[in-house]
């Protein structure tokens, strides 16, 4: 797979380390009343779709940036790549 890095252009996926579903950006509030249940859900449960999946990739052999890659898990086709920092910033602004 070739990942089109927003800053560095096309890079071999072998340069990256995979973390998983991009929803891992949204860490639950550890002080909330139901924090234990929310963390169990956050740490262990996954949507695991067959199809479009937004996921976190780390450019370990490159610029050390985290990316949010939109990829089809049934075909491996990558349709969109963003910097995870941009995604996180946009989410905070939207709150």
């Amino acid at each position: 797979m070739i990942i089109y890095h927003p800053l560095l252009g096309p890079r071999d996926s072998d340069e990256f380390t995979y973390l998983g579903d991009a929803s891992l950006i949204d860490r639950p509030d550890g002080l909330a009343e139901d924090a234990a249940a929310r963390f169990a859900e956050y740490v262990y449960m996954r949507d695991n779709p067959a199809g479009t999946h937004r996921e976190l990739w780390f450019h370990a052999a490159g610029d050390q940036s985290w990316l949010v890659v939109t990829r089809n898990t049934a075909t491996h086709e990558i349709t969109h790549v963003e910097l995870a920092s941009d995604v996180a910033r946009a989410r905070r602004a939207g709150r």
Partner: protein, 417 residues
């Protein structure tokens, strides 16, 4: 159907082989069953067989979206072993190994079970200590293990690179009762034995939804219509999340692709199964002569049943550094299977929050060796509503409770297991 025997083989051979018939009935769905098993892979078939053979269930259907033997049961590397360390796993795999040893008699089917041994190599003093400890634990569980140092290994395994500069081979933990079996024959043997005992094996019948009312399952919707059922058992490997999603349940599972490879046929050269303690490379030789080998997951979520080239290169490099003699063997084929990777690397066999809906999944990349044990304990759960003695740890809610069974100590990182 008639039993298979040497006498019958001789008779058929002398009379033009006109007496052979299809090994199982290609059944059409009836309106209702007591128990429906979804998934015609090894685990589903073994479950259906055990429901009929051991638990006396007569109205059982097995639904398969494709054909019998077309999923992971026909895509794995055929290894059978029981060398787990944690108590929740040990009893189960020891039982499964015992069932492998009598499978051909139980099923009256030649599954080419070959107890040629599985050897796990170690490369440092620390790995040696861990291997000996594991071996002791495995022996206590009822399976077998013997530690061999490098000198003893050289007799049967002279071709390994013992003096490798980075990963010298210190010794290895051998399980002599482990080995390989013909994977397709396991599926066919279970299908035939289940069908003979009255199980309806329904192929080309994909489940598209569940009939759930008031938190209880009443049947399934399929591409061949509605089928009513008292209980529904799900054993669909890489599609576990998708199917349980239809019942409104989220799973502690990610689906990942694992590749496997085979070379052209060669003369007998590798006596058993050997695993490299580095990079998770493992290899054996099929009875046809091909070297069958594989390595780690590709490492990203996938339902594609095919992997990418970086892992091909990584596995080939690990293989050549373990046994330089295979460098000139030509790779014939590669393929991928979809693994239902759980958050602790261990399976789930349990009831679900939906009454009457049961799950058997999360076998990660170790499902084949578990096939007979999985069938027995899942049939036990479906028939009696209580977990089998050796499967009590495989609960669905163990993650939230903190009772994970993390054999490799990786934590909730399915792609690294």
């Amino acid at each position: 159907m008639g039993r298979f025997s040497a006498l019958r083989l001789l008779y058929e051979g002398l009379t033009g082989n006109r007496g052979w018939t299809p090994h199982w009935r290609d059944a059409a769905p009836q309106p209702a069953y007591d128990i429906i098993v979804i998934g015609g892979g090894g685990h589903g078939l073994a479950t259906a067989y055990q429901l009929a053979a051991t638990y006396g269930q007569t109205r059982v259907a097995l639904l398969e979206k494709g054909w019998i033997g077309g999923g992971n049961v026909g895509r794995n590397t055929t290894i059978v072993r029981a060398n787990y360390l944690l108590p929740s796993n040990q009893g189960f795999y020891a039982l499964s190994l015992r069932l492998w040893e009598r499978m051909e008699q139980d099923l009256n089917y030649n599954v080419m079970m070959s107890q040629r041994g599985v050897l796990n190599l170690c490369h440092s003093d620390a790995q040696r200590d861990a291997a000996i400890r594991r071996g002791n634990a495995v022996r206590l569980s009822g399976a077998d293990a013997v530690y061999l140092d490098a000198g003893a290994l050289k007799k049967d395994w002279p071709f390994l690179d013992y003096d490798n500069a980075r990963f010298p081979i210190r010794g290895g933990l051998l399980q002599p009762r482990a080995g390989t079996a013909r994977h397709d024959a396991v599926a066919w043997g279970y299908a035939r034995a289940a069908s003979d005992r009255g199980v309806d094996i329904i192929q080309n019948c994909e489940v598209t939804g569940f009939d759930i009312r008031g938190g209880k399952v009443f049947g399934v919707e399929t591409t061949r219509g509605h089928i009513a059922a008292g209980k529904v058992g799900v054993a669909v490997a890489g599609n576990t999340s998708r199917l349980m999603g239809m019942a409104g349940l989220r799973m502690p599972i990610e689906s990942h692709v694992l590749q496997a490879f085979v070379t052209e046929g060669l003369k007998p050269v590798i006596p058993g199964v050997v695993t490299f303690g580095v990079g998770h490379f493992y290899i054996s030789q099929s009875d046809k002569g091909g070297l069958v080998y594989g390595g780690d997951l590709d490492g990203y979520n996938s339902y594609a049943q095919r992997g990418n080239l970086p892992m091909v290169e990584h596995v080939a490099a690990a293989g050549v550094s373990l046994m330089p003699m295979i460098a000139r063997a030509r790779m014939l084929r590669s393929w991928g299977g979809i693994m239902d990777m759980t958050m602790d690397g261990s399976p789930i066999i349990d009831r679900t929050p939906v009454e009457g809906l049961y799950l058997n999944g999360g076998w990660c990349y170790g499902g084949f060796k578990a096939t007979p044990g999985s069938g027995l304990v899942f049939a036990h759960l479906l028939a009696t509503d209580t977990p089998h003695e050796v499967a009590k740890g495989f609960r669905l809610d163990r993650f939230a409770r903190g009772h994970v069974i993390d054999e490799t100590g990786h934590g909730p990182t399915p792609n690294l297991q």
